[in-house]
Assembly symmetry: C2
């Protein structure tokens, strides 16, 4: 799908096509993270069919445990809009948010959250917790999931497969070095 289309053209799409269109940008961010050796998760924040912030996970690059894609787009959007309430905004993220990011979504009052693939080991939307739909919390965003889910999931699988392979090679090399002593 071409990406040079206007906010009005995007508005005229059906919701599923629009969600896939925007998730494509979050996936682009995930690919950038992959190339940098970061866990490949990307996110964008959209207001009035316009992207106002886009980021990928930067934990290793920034030495910052809070530098997940979602927190980075939220912080940048607050800065751009000069307000901490991100009402009127939709967050797109390739993987189900963790507790920190789901909490940041609640705290920023984002209207709608769209994610690609579930994270059964650490997700806080449907997997380990239900932070975005807990009746005790003072905000409940609209939710959609499974958008470009296979692509969002595949890049994570590829990343961890490659990392295991690299670690095994390193261990084998270290093993050989030990045998040589």
């Amino acid at each position: 799908m071409t990406k040079n289309i206007t906010p009005i053209e995007i508005k005229n799409m059906d919701e599923r096509s629009r969600d896939e269109y925007f998730m494509g940008f979050a996936l682009e961010e995930a690919h950038k993270a992959y190339a940098l050796g970061e866990i490949p998760i990307g996110a964008i924040l959209v207001q009035n069919n316009t992207i106002i912030s886009r980021h990928h996970n930067r934990r290793e690059l920034d030495n910052d445990a809070t530098a997940h894609a979602e927190v980075l787009v939220i912080r940048e959007a607050c800065d751009v809009l000069k307000r901490w309430r991100l009402t009127g905004c939709t967050l797109y993220v390739t993987i189900e948010p963790c507790p920190m990011c789901a909490g940041a979504i609640i705290n920023s009052r984002i209207d709608r959250v769209v994610y690609g693939a579930s994270d059964y080991k650490g997700g806080a939307v449907e997997s380990l917790f239900n932070v975005l739909s807990h009746p005790g919390l003072n905000h409940e965003p609209e939710l959609a999931s499974g958008i470009l889910g296979d692509e969002c999931s595949q890049i994570m699988k590829d990343f961890f497969k490659e990392r295991r392979k690299t670690r095994r090679s390193t261990q084998e090399a270290e093993g050989s070095a030990l045998e040589m002593r």
Copy 2:
């Protein structure tokens, strides 16, 4: 209690006294927030009985939904220590962390968390969720709570009581203005 004591003297305290000593600094931060009109929650991060970062809630000042005291101390500590893993550190915070902050604690692998008062409406440690003791997550910090709990709770009650009073006065003034038309 005097605050001009050395890390060695602090180390020699019993755990309860040490926790109360450090919580005093988190409370100081909460008082600073109160004076600035921010929800009065403070936090500090301690490594080897030395405070490496201290902050209070700055959501309104910074227009940043993620600017809770805990996230700010974690980000600063990562920056100071040049690593995202805050192993060897203890976080002191006046109020039970919300989902975002509890998640940030897990993500940063903090060893121990001490908080003052529970937050029955939004806490993610014992109230709405058990983020810091969930068996599915890959980190479980040591926990202590109720340290200077009455003081930590009282400053919140005072803040919200005053805010309700101010709002009522404003509404009454607006009401009178309307009647005068």
